[in-house]
C-alpha cells in the first residue's frame, strides 16, 4: 500500500507490504541502514529511532502505522563530517566496540535526555512529584532497553553524562 512519512526532514513516498516493519522500511527500502536489526522482536534496542521526538523500537511497529509521521534516525542526527554532540561523545569516550548497538544507543541517549528534561519519571525515580535528576542511576535505568553485548555500558554512561552536563 502507498504511504508517506518524513525521515530526517525529507518526505519519503513508499509503496509497501502491510507486513513491513518501520525498521525494514528504513533499512531495506530507503537503504538507511544505520538503524540496526538485532532481534526483530523488541528485545535489544538496536533499532531505536525517534518518531515525533519519542524513541521507539522500529522493529515493533509496522510502517503503515506511520503515515505522515516525523521520523529521525541516526543518519538524521549527524554525519561523519558533522557529528551530533552525542555521537562525538561516544567517539571520545569509546562508548562502543563492534558498533552494532551504537546507533540505537545514541538515539536512545538523545531521547533519554529529553525525557528527563520533560520530567518523565522512571522506575528509579524516587519522588514522582519531583523532577527526575540527571543521575547515573536514572541514565542506566532508562538505557536498559538498549543491550550492548560488547559491554560498553560504563563508557556509554560517561558519554551521556558529558553531553547532559554540556546541555545543563
Amino acid at each position: 500500500m502507498k504511504l508517506f512519512f518524513t525521515v530526517n526532514g525529507e518526505r519519503r513516498d513508499l509503496e509497501l507490504d502491510t507486513r513491513t516493519t518501520l525498521l525494514d522500511a528504513l533499512r531495506e527500502h530507503l537503504h538507511l541502514t544505520g538503524s540496526k536489526k538485532g532481534c526483530d522482536h523488541g528485545q535489544c534496542g538496536a533499532c531505536t529511532v525517534m518518531v515525533g521526538g519519542r524513541r521507539i523500537n522500529a522493529c515493533l511497529t509496522l510502517a503503515v502505522m506511520h503515515q505522515g509521521d516525523e521520523i529521525t534516525t541516526i543518519e538524521g542526527l549527524g554525519s561523519p563530517d558533522k557529528l551530533h554532540p552525542m555521537q562525538a561523545a561516544f567517539v571520545k569516550h569509546d562508548g562502543y566496540q563492534c558498533g552494532y548497538c551504537t546507533p540505537g544507543q545514541i538515539c536512545s541517549s538523545v531521547a533519554v535526555l529529553e525525557e528527563i528534561k520533560a520530567g518523565i519519571p522512571s522506575h528509579v525515580t524516587a519522588d514522582l512529584n519531583a523532577r527526575p535528576g540527571l543521575t547515573a542511576d536514572e541514565i542506566r535505568e532508562r538505557m536498559s532497553g538498549n543491550i550492548c553485548r560488547c559491554g560498553a555500558y560504563s563508557n556509554i554512561v560517561d558519554a551521556i553524562t558529558e553531553v547532559a552536563e554540556q546541555q545543563a
Partner: protein
C-alpha cells in the same frame, strides 16, 4: 619475517602513535550509522532477493518427508533449497555438525531449508508453509546423566609428580565440584550474509572473524575451488567466537542465490541463532587442592567433564590449572561425553573462562580453610616457571603485581575476612578477588602496505575488526613505522583478496596482526631506502620524510607517481615454546546482596592487567570493561536452559537468554601494568580481550560469599540458590 629471537629496539618503541589512547579511526562511521555490516551492502549488490532459514523441529532423527508445494506456490517465492536439491555438500574443516540437515538431523534448529523470495515478508511467510515430517530418535541431552559415559581426552591431560599420594597426605585439603552452564555468545549482529554468483565465482559479504578459515570452509562445503570464493567482512557486529567459523547463513545465501539466479541475503533470525549456531558447553569440574599448613600448594588437580556432538571436542576448562599456581604434584584431565545438543565450540576465552569460574572459587575456599587472606594465598603460590617443566620460564609474569596493585587501589584491606559481617541498610556487602590468566597465542599474519605519491599509506590485510579496534591499532602501527600521522593511513580489512592474517580469535589478533603489518612496513622501509640509495639501517622515517645523514626526502617524492608496495607476513618460531607466554590479571569486585530477596547488585569492579605492551589504552580498556560485563553475565544470569527431553536450549532469544544491561553495570576501573614482552613479537604486545573475562565470575562469586556466608558452586548465582540460607535479617 621470521620472529625467532627476542625483539630488540625497533621503530615501534618510539611510541609516538602506538601506545597512545587515540580515538577509533572508524568511530565516526560507527556512530553515524555509516559503517556497512554484512546485511547492508546495498551499494555493492543490486536486485537481491531474501532468504529465510527453516530450522529442524527435532534434535535428532531423520526427515521422512517434506512438502514444499505450498511454499513454492506462495507469492514472490523464487526457490526453496533443501538437502534434496542442494547438490552434494561437503563439510567445513572447522564445523562439527553439517550446516544443512537432511535426511539426518543432528541437532535442533539445524537448517533444513532456505526459502528465497522477492521480499523479506514473502520469504518469511512462505517459510511457515514448509511442511516437514520427522522420525525422531533417542538422543543424549543431559551432561550430568552422561557424565559416567564420558571418555578421557588426551588434550590438556597432564600429570606431574604423584598427585593422588600428595593430595591424600596434605594437611589441608579441598575437594569440591563446580558446574558452569551452557552459554551463548549472543552478539548483537545476527549471523548474516549476502551471496552473489558471477558464473562459477562466488562473492559473499558476511560477518566472520576468520576470513581465511571461512573462505576455505565455504569452498569445501560447496565443493568448489577455494580461489573461486571471495569473502568480504569489513564490519562485524560482535562475534565472541560465535563467528569464528562458517555458519549456515553463508551457505544458505550461496545455495539460495544459485537456485534463484539472483544475489540473496540471509540473516539468521534471532530465535534460531542459539540452537542453530555454536555455544560454550556446560562443564562439571572437580577440583582438589592440598596444601601444607603454611598455605603452600603441594597437590593440585582439576578434572572437567563436558559434552559435544559426535566428533566434537571438549571445553578445555583445566588448561589454566597447568600453569597458574605452583605445586610439585599435579593432575589435569578432561572427559568428553557425546551429547546431541547443538554444537559446542569456542566462546570468548574458551577453556579459561569456565575453568577459572571454578578454580578461583576453589582458591577462595582454600584460603578460608587456611585462615589466609585470598590475595596472600595466591601470592605465596605464584610461580615464575612452568610448574610442569621448571626449565621453562614465563616470558613475563606479573600476577603478584596485579594482585598487590589491585588490593591497594580497591581498598581490599577494608574487607572483612569473616563473611556476612558488612551491612548497609538491608544490603549485605562483600568483596571478592580472583586471578585472571589466559595464554598468549601467536599466529602467522600477513599484510600489504602501499605508499602513494601523496605520501599516504594504505594497509590491506584480511584481518577483521569485531569491535576490538583492529582498524585503529593497525593504523597506529603503520603510522609509527612509516613516520606519518595516523590521518595519513587508510586501513582496509576483512577481504579474502587481501593477504591472509591471524584473524580475530583467542586474543591473538592484536599482537599477531600488527606484527604482520610491522613486517610489511619493514619491507617497505627497506625498499624506500634502497630506492633512494640510503643505507636502510641509517634511514629515519619521521614527519612524512625519510632521512639519512643530511639528506632528506619526503615520502611522497620517494614513492613517486607509481607508488610503492610491499607485502610480508610475520611467522613465529620457537620462542613461544622456550618461554611460556601468558597474560595475567586480577579482578576485584564489591557486591551488595539484598538480605530479604537475595538479589545481587554489583557495586564496584576493578581489573588490573599485565598483558605486554598496550597498543591503544583506550580500545584495550574497552575490551576489558566489555569482558568484565560479560563476566557479570556469567556470574549472575547467563544460562542456556536445556530441555533434556526434547534436546534444545529453551531460552533461545534475547528476551529469555539474559545478558547484562546498563542497570546491571556500575562504573568500571581498569589498570594496565607497564609491561613489554620482547618474546611475544616485535610489537612486544600480548592480548587482553579474553583476559578481561577470565576470573571475573569467580571474583563475583567470592564477593557474594563474603557478603552472605553462603557458598554457591553452580553458576549462574541466581537468588534461588542462596535465598533460603541468607543470614537472618537483623
Amino acid at each position: 619475517m621470521k620472529f625467532d629471537t627476542p625483539a630488540t629496539t625497533n621503530p615501534i618503541d618510539q611510541l609516538k602513535v602506538v601506545g597512545q589512547p587515540v580515538d577509533r579511526i572508524d568511530g565516526r562511521l560507527k556512530t553515524t550509522g555509516q559503517a556497512p555490516y554484512a546485511y547492508e551492502h546495498n551499494d555493492a549488490v543490486r536486485d537481491h532477493a531474501y532468504g529465510y532459514v527453516v530450522g529442524a523441529a527435532i534434535a535428532k532423527g531423520r526427515i521422512t518427508g517434506m512438502d514444499l508445494r505450498a511454499a513454492r506456490a506462495a507469492p514472490g517465492v523464487l526457490a526453496v533449497v533443501t538437502a534434496e536439491n542442494a547438490g552434494a555438500l561437503g563439510k567445513g574443516r572447522m564445523n562439527t555438525a553439517r550446516l544443512l540437515a537432511g535426511p539426518e538431523v543432528d541437532h535442533y534448529h539445524q537448517a533444513v531449508a532456505v526459502v528465497v523470495a522477492e521480499t523479506f515478508e514473502q520469504a518469511r511467510d512462505a517459510a511457515q508453509m514448509v511442511q516437514v515430517s520427522y522420525a525422531g530418535a533417542e538422543g543424549a541431552f543431559d551432561l550430568a546423566a552422561a557424565r559416567d559415559l564420558a571418555e578421557k581426552v588426551d588434550q590438556s591431560a597432564s600429570a606431574t609428580g604423584d598427585f593422588e599420594g600428595a593430595f591424600a597426605t596434605a594437611p589441608v585439603q579441598l575437594d569440591a565440584t563446580y558446574t558452569t552452564p551452557d552459554q551463548s555468545h549472543a552478539m548483537m549482529e545476527p549471523h548474516a550474509s549476502i551471496a552473489a554468483w558471477d558464473g562459477d565465482r562466488l562473492v559473499v559479504w558476511t560477518s566472520n572473524q576468520m576470513i581465511e578459515w571461512g573462505a576455505g570452509d565455504l569452498a569445501r562445503t560447496l565443493n568448489m575451488p577455494r580461489e573461486k570464493v571471495r569473502l568480504i567482512s569489513p564490519f562485524i557486529g560482535g562475534g565472541f567466537g560465535g563467528k569464528l567459523f562458517l555458519r549456515t547463513d553463508a551457505v544458505m545465501a550461496a545455495l539460495g542465490s544459485r537456485a534463484a539466479r539472483r544475489p540473496v541475503k540471509v540473516a539468521l533470525q534471532r530465535p534460531l541463532m542459539i540452537n542453530n549456531t555454536t555455544h560454550r558447553p556446560a562443564t562439571i569440574q572437580r577440583i582438589r587442592i592440598g596444601t601444607g599448613r603454611d598455605g603452600r600448594i603441594v597437590a593440585i588437580g582439576h578434572e572437567s567433564w563436558s559434552g559435544d556432538q559426535p566428533g566434537g571436542g571438549p571445553e578445555t576448562a583445566v588448561d589454566q590449572t597447568r600453569l597458574l599456581y605452583t605445586g610439585a604434584n599435579r593432575l589435569t584431565q578432561l572427559r568428553l561425553a557425546v551429547l546431541d545438543l547443538p554444537e559446542g565450540n569456542a566462546m570468548r576465552a574458551p577453556g579459561e573462562a569456565p575453568g577459572l569460574m571454578a578454580l578461583e572459587i576453589a582458591m577462595d575456599e582454600m584460603a578460608e580453610k587456611l585462615g589466609m587472606d585470598p590475595v596472600e594465598f595466591r601470592v605465596i603460590n605464584d610461580t615464575q616457571v612452568d610448574p610442569n617443566d621448571t626449565s621453562r620460564p614465563f616470558s613475563r609474569r606479573q600476577l603478584v603485581e596485579c594482585l598487590r596493585t589491585g588490593a591497594e587501589q580497591f581498598g581490599w584491606s577494608r574487607r572483612s575476612a569473616r563473611p556476612g559481617q558488612a551491612r548497609e541498610g538491608s544490603w549485605l556487602l562483600g568483596m571478592g578477588v580472583a586471578a585472571a590468566f589466559r595464554n598468549n597465542l601467536v599466529m602467522t599474519s600477513g599484510a600489504r602496505v602501499r605508499l602513494d605519491g601523496r605520501g599516504e599509506v594504505t594497509v590491506e590485510t584480511d584481518m577483521t575488526d569485531i569491535g576490538t579496534g583492529s582498524y585503529t591499532i593497525i593504523a597506529q602501527t603503520a603510522a609509527e613505522m612509516m613516520g606519518v600521522t595516523i590521518d595519513k593511513v587508510t586501513v582496509r580489512l576483512g577481504d579474502s583478496s587481501f593477504p591472509a592474517s591471524a584473524g580475530s580469535g583467542g586474543q591473538w589478533g592484536a599482537n599477531s596482526s600488527t606484527a604482520g603489518v610491522y613486517a610489511a612496513c619493514v619491507k617497505l622501509r627497506n625498499a624506500v631506502a634502497r630506492k633512494l640509495g640510503f643505507n636502510s639501517a641509517d634511514a629515519v622515517f619521521e614527519d612524512g620524510q625519510v632521512r639519512a645523514g643530511n639528506r632528506s626526502v619526503t615520502l611522497a617524492e620517494a614513492a613517486g607517481g607509481e607508488g610503492m608496495v610491499a607485502e610480508d607476513a610475520i611467522e613465529f618460531g620457537e620462542l613461544s615454546k622456550r618461554f611460556q607466554q601468558s597474560t595475567f590479571g586480577a579482578h576485584f569486585v564489591e557486591v551488595g546482596v539484598d538480605a530479604a530477596t537475595g538479589e545481587v547488585r554489583i557495586r564496584r569492579m576493578l581489573a588490573v592487567c599485565a598483558a605486554g605492551r598496550i597498543l591503544n589504552p583506550k580500545t584495550a580498556r574497552s575490551q576489558v570493561i566489555g569482558a568484565m560485563t560479560m563476566g557479570v553475565g556469567g556470574a549472575l544470569m547467563e544460562e542456556l536452559a536445556v530441555d533434556t527431553r526434547r534436546g534444545f536450549f529453551v531460552n533461545h532469544d534475547l528476551a529469555a537468554y539474559e545478558v547484562p544491561v546498563h542497570a546491571d553495570i556500575p562504573h568500571q576501573e581498569v589498570i594496565f601494568l607497564d609491561e613489554v614482552d620482547p618474546m611475544s613479537s616485535p610489537m612486544k604486545a600480548k592480548g587482553v580481550g579474553e583476559l578481561g573475562l577470565c576470573g571475573v565470575a569467580a571474583a563475583i562469586a567470592n564477593a557474594i560469599y563474603n557478603a552472605t556466608g553462603v557458598r554457591v558452586r553452580d553458576y549462574p548465582i541466581t537468588l534461588d540458590k542462596h535465598l533460603d540460607r541468607l543470614p537472618e535479617l537483623a
